[in-house]
Amino acid sequence: MARLEEGLSVGVVAGEALAGIDEASDARGRGALARLPWIPTLIIVALVVAAAGAPLIAPHSPTEQSLPDKLLPPAWQEGGNAKYLLGTDVLGRDVLSRLLYGARVSLTVAAAALLAGGAVGLAVGILSGYVGGRIDSVLMRIVDATLTFPTILIALLLAVSLGQGLRTMVLAIALILWARFARIVRGEVLTVKGRDFVALAQVRGCSHARIMGVHILPNVMNTFMVLLSLHIGFVILVEASLSFLGAGIPPPTPSWGQMVSDGRSHIASAWWLSFPPGVAILLIVLAFNLFGDWLRDWLDPRLRQQV
């Protein structure tokens, strides 16, 4: 019996000595750049071009009214006019031009809000994750509180109080965005913080600020980039919803959400007022989401769990 028990424990040791090394499986299989998702990318490019080049591309001014031409259907329908490809609205304004100019609004708000909210979120996330302790707890509590707040509501409140306009909208969205970013960046920072090179830097006597800026920051950039791209769609949707509810950029500047809202009362007779802006929103958000997914997969499949 003793011999067999000996045999067992020896066997265990032997087993350990032999336990094979894993097969070479380090390849992460990063897709080549050629695998860029072409359709979403093209749509995004088209958007940017439309937004930037609206003054050049648009056949009319978006605010130019022409009452005798009001409520004309799109050019291919009966009663349509080639001058107004997508028809006109109740004030005789060209839908297509308004659509193109609306792209500017969406993009501008998205860019500004993401920049502002993103920067703050990134900073807070890094600070909170790196410093830890009390500051971390307090900051995360604030983040939690902010996250429980319904997005639209805050935006509505602010829009109505500070007056409608670009600045208010950007502020409102940024206020919600930073919390989301902060939370995820913090998680990433916690992982990075545990890595050896950070400990080495501390041992070498680097200041905390330097560590955060030089060591931690570049390593969370991947996550940050993915977060940015994934949230563009969200921001555009929020902006559109707010405009729809009448709390966005005030007229006469065209914005897609508002165009949908305006067209609502004429939905039965003039579908071309509400339909195209909605489709535009759909396509853009879709394109950005798909692009963001691709970016995330390309940069780090690991993120799939978190985000």
């Binding site: 639209i152 509501l153 109080s161 959400g257 939905i267 909605g278 759909l282 879709l286």
Partner: protein, 293 residues
């Protein structure tokens, strides 16, 4: 609890920030005197910190002030409309779950096939579609063109259909993806392998062993989903002229009825917290590991 207090403070501050309702309620030719009079009636002439104390004191007693627009206690206005939303939201949630489970499971089981791709496409579209636009399109197709379903306000069960679909649409999308990835993960686990080794039929493996485990992450998010729906209702109710709390919120903002607004935000928060609690209980039922912790 702390969260609620913070919430109350923030709500109070924000509501104040939204400008003075007096200006809206007054007629064009109102004099300064009229204005002062109105402010006094509304209690808005007192210093801010006094207003805050009044508010907090009242809140503890269940009195959240008087709605300026309706001239009734805000709480009353809220609860009048609440049932309308509370019938819509769970319906949307339930509908979403009912759709997401089969879609997500099929996508996982038939991974890589056309079905999976299609389900994913639906999910991706659902997330990208603006709900207000979807509502309008649905109204156009089903109400105006086909005349099958009513387009506004409440009434018969038929009135629920379009708003529920609109509200739940983006939720279905997210949930399908979640179910899919969750099922995929569970399908890989050892106990599923063991179940197959036992000779259990594939159907049982899926619907008994797999589903129960896969639903756990979905259920944990029910609280979040509920909250999302409640906010989403603001837009949906506006589109469908639904007399619920969502539209009430919108109106309160537009008309600067801040007692009402404060009340709404706080009460909504309480409800959401309550639902989260219920979800925790449901979760413990689903996952016995949590029960004995």
């Amino acid at each position: 609890m702390l969260l609620l207090v913070i919430l109350a403070l923030i709500v109070f501050a924000l509501a104040r920030v939204t400008g003075n309702p007096a200006d809206l309620l007054l007629r064009e030719d109102a004099t300064q005197e009229d204005r002062a009079h109105l402010l006094k009636a509304l209690g808005l002439d007192r210093p801010t910190h006094e207003q805050l104390l009044v508010f907090l004191g009242g809140a503890l007693r269940g009195d959240l002030g008087q709605s300026i627009r309706y001239r009734k206690p805000a709480v009353e206005v809220f609860f009048e409309r609440l049932p309308n939303t509370l019938t819509l939201v769970p319906l949307a949630l339930f509908g979403a779950v009912v759709m997401a489970i089969p879609l997500g499971m099929s996508a996982a089981v038939y991974r890589g096939t056309l079905l999976d791709r299609a389900a994913n496409a639906v999910a991706v579209l659902g997330i990208a579609t603006p709900s207000f636009w979807l509502g309008i399109v649905l109204i156009y197709v089903f109400s105006i063109t086909l005349g099958w379903l009513p387009s506004a306000r409440m009434g018969s069960p038929a009135h629920y259909v379009l708003p529920a679909i609109t509200l739940g649409a983006f939720l279905v999308a997210g949930m399908t993806r979640l179910v899919r990835s969750s099922v995929l993960e569970v399908l890989d686990s050892e106990f599923v392998k063991l179940a197959r080794l036992k000779g259990v039929s594939e159907v049982t493996v899926l619907w008994k062993h797999c589903l129960r485990n896969a639903m756990i992450p979905v259920v944990t998010l029910f609280g979040v989903f509920f909250a999302l729906l409640v906010t989403g209702a603001i837009v949906t109710e506006t589109v469908f002229a639904w007399p619920g709390v969502g539209r009430l919120t919108y109106e309160a903002v537009i008309f600067r009825d801040y007692p009402l607004l404060q009340a709404i935000i706080l009460l909504k928060a309480v409800i959401v917290l309550g639902v989260n609690l219920a979800v925790d209980i449901l979760y413990a039922y689903l996952d016995p590991r949590v029960r004995y912790a």
